[in-house]
């Protein structure tokens, strides 16, 4: 075989190899996307309009959602609202805003509920119910995909 044709064959083999690699990569990505739905891009921490607070630290947000801080600094009880564990918004909020994984929240809640040292957060079915509940419950804290238009709900900056 002349050297030119040999090179061409090599190039072809290389291309085929690359195509196989990219196919494999695509398959893996597809599988991963199927297993873990892509996270919602932006999330906001929302509170009832009565809340005197404008911002919290990420650490404080974690304390409210792990139920370890049950009163706002003004003494009002914290009412925590959450979506189902597998809801993409819940997953994204937990990871991006709290810096935790959903299974860690679940385990913290279960440990407290089943040892009598805390009460479970209120689970709501979807985002619109979340906004409605936060709007009508004093001391409520929850999350939404973006700042809701409901005037009874405010977003809280997480520093």
């Amino acid at each position: 075989m002349p050297p030119g044709r040999l090179d061409a064959a090599r190039r072809q083999a290389k291309r085929a190899g690359l195509a196989a690699v990219s196919l494999l990569r695509g398959l893996i990505c597809g599988l991963l996307c199927a297993l873990w739905p892509p996270a919602a891009a932006v999330q906001d921490l929302i509170v009832n309009q009565d809340s005197a607070h404008r911002q919290v630290t990420q650490n404080e947000a974690r304390l409210y959602f792990t139920l370890r801080l049950q009163r706002w600094p003004d003494g009002q009880p914290v009412q925590t609202f959450v979506l189902p564990d597998e809801d993409p918004l819940h997953v994204a909020f937990t990871k991006n805003l709290l810096g935790l994984f959903p299974y860690q929240l679940r385990s913290a809640w279960d440990r407290q509920v089943f040892s009598g040292t805390g009460q479970a957060p209120t689970r709501v079915a979807d985002e619109s119910e979340m906004i409605r509940q936060v709007a009508t419950t004093p001391g409520a804290v929850g999350y939404a995909r973006s700042a809701p238009r409901d005037p009874r709900v405010r977003t809280l900056e997480v520093r």
Partner: protein, 425 residues
């Protein structure tokens, strides 16, 4: 230990009697008193009363397992496949004031020959928050409190709170589950933000809640008489949680003593002796997104004294550790691998000295356990979970002498397969 064993086998096996647990009644009285005090101290207007009851939460669970072993009995009254592992729990909690939480749980547990499913008060407590700020938190708990020992003890009977159908037995013994389960007393807890994470501390004192299984485990049989807590149990724990709760490190321990009150009507029983027990656990856990690595080491120095000439004074230190990995390829699926080792006497880890002392009545295997486990768990939805587990055992240290009364018949290498279905709400 050899002598202790001989006494246990010289005597026909006493029937597994159920004893009235005065501790349960105390907890019932205590919770009623707490509620009464609360209602008298805070005469509530009907509107306030309504808002109090909106905080009422009810949660519960029910679990049923099927267990098969190649040899020896484990959560089983008979040979063959056992369905004698059922756990049913129901709890209620109420927050009448932002700083006050009242909570109680009733647990019915059927576990082979060890528990018959009689409902008991698992916890009944008032949690008073004294300080609650983003930097520090502190409070008091009064009543029947689950002991926060190791990573899993507080919720050890709540199936979905721990990997595996059975907790690592070399640390969380099921044969003496009650000794370290809960305390009727008071606890102080505090938590502060340190630079790298959170540091928490708890101190607890009170009366241990014990049962007949404790007597079987520490005296080798159910002798005529009563085994009762000797004074108070003291418990302490210090924990570090890294900022994003990835790393968790802790040291926790309990010091307790049991007193044997012999029956006056029995022909033969032990003297009025005491057993001093110290139980210490070192814990470490690392949690990543798809996997978690957990390891705990437990040490248990024991001392028996005053049980009479047939049961001389004895000091033994038991020990156990496990390494456990879980991997979640999908949020609803968890795979488990676990290796554990436990020894009744850390100076006689292969049990040979014990076997020699028993003069052929026992093999060495009741003195150690080496266990390899593999399991899979599927959380089908928010209410249902199923899992399966395989274990290979070398040794029989973790087995209950109530279920396996003849140590001469214990098989050293044995396998266990179990499946479990759990419902929760």
């Amino acid at each position: 230990m050899g002598v202790r064993y001989l006494i246990a086998t010289c005597k026909p096996r006493a029937p597994a009697r159920r004893r009235a647990l005065p501790a349960h009644q105390r907890a019932r009285g205590l919770s009623a008193a707490l509620l009464a005090a609360l209602l008298t101290l805070h005469p509530l207007s009907s509107k306030a009363a309504e808002s109090v009851w909106t905080s009422l939460q009810l949660h519960g669970f029910a679990a049923q397992a099927a267990i098969g072993t190649s040899d020896n009995r484990w959560f089983a009254r008979y040979d063959g496949v056992s369905f004698d592992f059922t756990e049913v729990g129901l709890n209620a909690s109420l927050r009448p004031r932002p700083w006050l939480l009242l909570a109680g749980q009733v647990l019915a547990r059927r576990a082979g020959e060890m528990y018959d499913g009689t409902p008991a008060i698992d916890f009944a407590l008032a949690d008073v928050s004294l300080l609650s700020s983003p930097r520090q938190r502190a409070g008091l708990r009064l009543g029947r409190i689950k002991n926060p020992l190791g990573i899993y003890n507080e919720t050890r009977d709540v199936p979905f709170t721990h990997p595996g159908i059975f907790l690592p037995q070399v640390v969380y013994f099921d044969k003496v589950r009650n000794l370290v389960l809960s305390t009727d007393g008071a606890m102080f807890y505090g938590e502060t933000d340190a630079g790298l994470g959170t540091l928490s501390l708890n101190l607890q004192g009170g009366r241990a809640v014990i049962d007949t299984n404790v007597e079987w485990a520490y005296l080798g049989a159910d002798f005529p008489g009563n085994l009762e807590p000797d004074g108070n149990s003291w418990l302490a724990g210090i924990w570090f949680n890294s900022r994003l709760e990835r790393l968790r490190l802790g040291v926790s321990g309990v010091s307790t003593a049991l007193r044997f009150d012999p029956s006056r009507h029995a022909g033969f029983t032990l003297g009025p002796g005491t057993t001093d027990i110290l139980y210490l656990i070192l814990s470490a856990q690392y949690s990543a997104e798809t996997w978690t690595l957990t390891s705990e080491y437990a040490r248990e120095p024991l001392r028996w004294k005053g049980f009479g000439p047939y049961f001389p004074e004895l000091r033994i230190t038991g020990e156990g550790y496990y390494v456990q990995g879980t991997w979640r390829p999908h949020p609803a699926i968890e795979l488990l691998l676990d290796y554990q080792e436990g020894f009744a006497d850390r100076t006689d880890r292969n049990g040979r000295a014990y076997a020699v002392a028993s003069k052929g009545l026992s093999t060495a295997s009741p003195r150690f356990s080496r266990i390899f486990s593999a399991g899979i768990r599927w959380d089908i939805n928010q209410h249902w979970m199923v899992r399966a587990e395989y274990q290979h055992h070398q040794g029989a240290f973790i087995l209950s002498s109530r279920e396996n009364p003849d140590p001469g018949q214990l098989v050293e290498h044995w396998d266990l397969f179990a499946v479990q279905a759990v419902f929760r709400f």
